[in-house]
Symmetry: C2
Subunit: 346 residues, 2 copies
DNA sequence: CTGTTAGCGCTTTCAC
DNA sequence: GTGAAAGCGCTAACAG
């Protein structure tokens, strides 16, 4: 049995002939450009529909001449996860240049709303598309909307600003990620009852807050034997995370589970090992050099991960599809919540 | 701070001028075509290197005229996982036709080596690339090698034939998948000790055998409290799987874990629920309509999954990259072992 | 062995 | 409003 997809191979010229107009007119209709009589538009659209005509992307790309420019606005500082995304962008360079695409990485203080907004505004005009690790703040929202209004395609990356009119969000559902973490902690603890600790960077960060929300949801509804302690804030720093956690472990002898919501993993692991005495189920986020080692050593039990390579490539592909007016393959661009344990380390 | 990738925008003509030859000669060198003096080859290659020249894929694609044809050789019958792959190929149809690619799906009895080999041989000539769900058998290996020798690009899909000279394998590491399943069963069972059952389609299938191998590895080394019962064979059929498992559960009261290696999931779930009496940790493979429901109901605890959409798209992209002589983004095309639990269902 | 040339199917001026 | 025509950068004949 055989089934063939995509039989067609028509060209603009064919459509033009069939609609009784010129190439240029079909092109104008295809791109919703003004200057065509409504009636002509209808005729041409009809011909396009009737033949389910697909313009040849390669030809379009070649004809337009000028290269497309995209910018990635990333946090300055040494967040390993963000560095991984940048590294994967670098790995795409041959792919990009073979398509005459240029990607510029701009680092900025994404935690300062006005600085971030300023960076975004400065990009207006010289970019076809922008991917931004965004803080959810009114002035950032405004800056994104301005970019969109100026015709720039915008995707939020890792951290979303749902209220802005960005074209797409490339990242995970953090509430679901928190729920997944909760289910893992609960299931891996097993029959035991006891307390569960949470270490976050800050509850003011949208993604952290959402993860904690999801985590608590599952804990409350499915693991009544486990009681969740108040959230510790480690500011994503190793030292501080270690201190706050060590203090907590000193006060509570029956901590059986730990959810590390953000970074500061090194400090968390230190506090845990210093406390000694009985295995604590430890679930955190992201696969880095460090978490990989902790997973292999059995110190960490699972990492909830969003694939940084996938995020980098998805952001580029989505921006490109948006710029070209192509449909987005939603299934392909959706970032999944990966559960990574020792045996399925990527 | 800003860093720019891919600054270049040279063309073949620039290289030709710099090397003191014509366009055609550069093209010949670029594609390793014969008929160029070794010395000229060197000069041209030097110019290409020196400028790290990247030919414009869109231009190349446009110039070659004829569309590329790929064939997917899939198992006949109603394996839901394979049907998902085919469905995702269907979803790519607009993407494919915008690139003037055609993908033909051929279904055949992949479990009969000679039939499969025959199907592959018949494809020789009229295809630029073939993706095949392959049985590992000498005559299949020979058929694959013949295709490769004829210049067709070949990728194995889901199930590999490592001994053949296929260009790429798109699928998971099944030993690691089995290990992951083992770790999950062991960890989710918790402190309890008892017996663990395995239901497979057939131990003669390479992927099933590898999964069982990995599963046993982990069980033996890490969960001494759990003893693995002899493998049951359900031929991937619901009825038979139910029967063999029901019989086993009747004989052993202390089964605490179950690994379903292949299909027949419906039957396995039936046998389990009929047996009643105490929760058995149930880990299986793939996210289908059925396993999704079982996960939500809490009957199944985890599914080890390979993303069928990713496999479909990766196979197409790899065939395309091979046909174009482009590098493959290995990280992108690698199929990961997904752990899917209720809260991270895709 | 090497060069010349005619497109591929679009986009984009520039005329009408 | 609409059309004609000149390319975009490469490939593939065909000459030499």
């Amino acid at each position: 049995m055989a089934e063939t997809l995509t039989p067609t191979a028509l060209t603009l010229k064919d459509i033009a002939r069939e609609a009784g107009v010129s190439l240029a007119t079909v092109d104008r209709v295809l791109h919703n450009r003004p200057g065509v009589r409504p009636d002509t538009v209808r005729r041409v659209k009809a011909a396009i529909e009737r033949n389910s005509f697909q313009p040849h992307v390669a030809a379009a790309e070649l004809a337009r001449g000028r290269a497309r420019r995209f910018a990635f606005v990333m946090p300055s500082g040494s967040n390993p996860f963000m560095q991984q995304i940048e590294a994967y962008l670098g790995e795409m360079s041959a792919w990009l240049s073979a398509r005459r695409l240029s990607v510029e990485t701009v680092t900025t203080d994404v935690f300062d709303p006005s600085v971030l907004a300023g960076t975004l505004e400065a990009l207006s005009g010289d970019c076809d598309g922008v991917a931004v690790v965004a803080l959810d703040h009114p002035s950032v929202r405004a800056a994104i909307n301005d970019l969109v209004d100026a015709g720039t395609k915008v995707v939020t990356l890792v951290s979303d600003v749902p209220s802005a009119r960005r074209h797409h969000y490339v990242g995970i559902d953090n509430i679901a990620a928190g729920r997944t973490a909760g289910a893992l902690v609960g299931r891996l603890v097993g029959q035991k009852s006891g307390k569960v600790a949470i270490v976050a960077g800050s509850q003011g960060l949208r993604d952290h807050a959402e993860r904690i929300f999801g985590f608590n949801q599952v804990m409350a509804s499915e693991f009544p034997g486990l009681s969740v302690l108040p959230v510790l804030e480690g500011r994503d720093e190793d030292d501080r995370s270690e201190q706050v956690l060590a203090r907590l472990l000193g006060r509570h002898a029956d901590v059986v589970g730990l959810y590390n919501v953000g970074a500061g993993t090194q400090g968390v692991a230190k506090a845990l090992s210093d406390a000694g005495e009985g295995k604590v189920v430890f679930v955190g986020h992201d696969v880095t050099v460090l978490t990989r080692r902790l997973l292999l050593q059995g110190v960490m039990d699972a990492a909830i991960s969003q694939n940084p390579g996938h995020e980098a490539r998805a952001a580029v592909r989505v921006l490109l599809a948006l710029a070209r007016g192509e449909p987005i393959l939603r299934e392909q661009e959706k970032i999944r919540i990966d559960i990574v344990m020792r045996d399925n380390l990527p």
